[in-house]
């Protein structure tokens, strides 16, 4: 049986080439200013300094964070009641509702965003608001499913006990259901916030060129200006933000579960 381990050799090689090497390349590009064309590296921190020195770039970063945060909050506010109501249905209806919620996730995201472009053409909304609608639409199912999974796992006896001990519906929700669904809320937040920060397709398609988020900035560096070093640096900054927020939510999750 131990010999089966050898079966993973090709994949370990694959990982080295297609996962580790690309990450190293991004890192290498971000700390040099000439690329590796001539194999003479000029190491520098300029790419990072340039990003934070320019108020325009910092503004883009703040806009990205703001839209992602707003999307997350709205998804949570809309999604929590939905998840709760679904969890209160009978087993058969629950399965059916979750199926209905997940069905549209199988349709190409680009096509759905294209549909939103057509729908929103009828409305005179600000570009940023259109982008926001597209993002809430795209990420809401993730929030609902995560929270629903957490609530559905709850032992129903806990609510019976709360009821027997004299808690009314509101109180048993606040004292039992809500605290115990925190892990679901947290993974929902991660699944919405992280892709929302890095999203570059939705602002591109719904923003009419008026909404530039950090993902669009990276795209511009690679596809238009050809400044790969700067683009790599921005990617690293974004990856850092994401790792930090994931670390923070994980910490939050742990402290919530200890309570």
């Amino acid at each position: 049986m131990k010999s089966f381990f050898r079966m993973s050799y090709p994949y370990i090689l694959w990982i080295g080439i297609f996962i580790v090497a690309p990450m190293l390349m991004i890192f290498l590009y971000s700390i040099t200013n000439t690329g590796n064309e001539t194999l003479t590296f000029q190491f520098t921190a300029d790419n990072f300094a340039r990003f934070f020195r320019d108020p325009d770039f910092v503004r883009i970063l703040i806009t990205s964070l703001r839209i992602a945060l707003l999307t997350t909050i709205v998804c949570l506010l809309i999604g929590y009641p939905a998840a709760l109501f679904i969890a209160n249905l009978s087993d058969r209806k629950q399965t059916f509702m979750i199926l209905l919620m997940t069905l549209p996730m199988w349709i190409n995201m680009v096509l759905k965003t294209y549909a939103w472009r057509g729908i929103l053409m009828n409305f005179d909304f600000a570009s940023e608001f259109k982008v926001f609608i597209g993002m809430v639409y795209d990420f809401l199912p993730f929030m609902i499913i995560q929270i629903h999974t957490a609530i559905a796992k709850l032992d129903p006896n806990l609510l019976v006990a709360a009821h027997d001990l004299g808690a009314n519906k509101v109180k048993s929700f606040l004292k039992v259901t809500l605290p115990l669904s925190v892990p679901g809320i947290i993974s929902g937040i991660t699944l919405v916030f992280l892709p929302a920060v890095s999203s570059f397709f939705i602002p591109k398609m719904l923003g009419n060129g008026n909404v530039v988020l950090i993902g669009n900035l990276i795209e511009m560096c690679f596809k238009k200006t050809g400044d790969w070093n700067f683009g790599s640096a921005i990617s690293l900054i974004m990856a850092l933000i994401i790792i930090t927020s994931m670390w923070a939510t994980k910490k939050l999750d742990r402290s919530a579960q200890e309570d």
Binding site: P22, F85, M97, L99, P104, K112, F201, F222
Partner: protein
Amino acid sequence: MGNVSTNRLAGISMVQNSELETTKKKRPADNSGEPMQKKPAKHLTRIFSSSYLILILLFVYLPIVYLVLFSFNSGKSPSSFDGFSMRWYEALFRDRTMLESIYVTLIVAVISTVVSTVVGTVAAIGLSKAKRLIRTVVLEVNNLPVLNPDIVTAIGLMLLFMSIKIQPGMLTLILSHISFCIPFVILSVMPKLRQLDDNVAEAALDLGATPFKALTRVIIPQIAPAILTGALLAFSMSLDDFVVSYFNAGPGTNTISMYVESMKRYNLSVNAMATLFVVVVALILLLANLVPIIKDKKAQKEEPKNA
């Protein structure tokens, strides 16, 4: 880190998981809540929650209804419905570049699904027998593409292909799709492998089976459902992808997503194409949900005979 990735996985493969989740627990709360249902307050909350869920469903299905409805528009306008016609379907079948993009999308999805399912399954089996440290390290690295934003994965691969001087085209497109699909296959096969009883495979080996036989006759049949889930996941990830393809396909190799994104004006043929997609996806999901039910019914019929 593994937590988030499996969550995302759960989200995407919810169709399979949801049935498991809900049938597992029987809820005594339903019965105890019964007498209260007659109160008018309970009635009101029920009406409220149902209408809320209906609103959410309307929101979730709005773009799909829109795509289907306007694919039959006789006018050009994406905003006013002028009457029923099939002209956009005709236009779709006359549009070479759009048809080519469908072809590229499907070819890439099929090849990367097959390759990543095979490689991922083989790797997962190997890893399940690896030393704990190696397994942990490899799985953590395996998680990177799942956790990383798409755009970071995409530019990383682009930099790699550029520096080893592979011309962007079909090959880079397929390679990049394979590399983001494998991690998902591994993530869906791995948990199932851990549940397996090692003794069964050991017994097969003791009884004289070659390792290859033990693999194909004992281990793989047991993890087949997880492999299927992984393949389905890989296929849908590949179909859905825009970002990785956008950075790693050459000029002329467009996937549907890239083609739609690059269009300057609103074109209702895209609605027609999307409608065809909706129909195909609906059929597949219907089948995927019906087959287990039919199998169950058959099994139930056969059981009494045996007994």
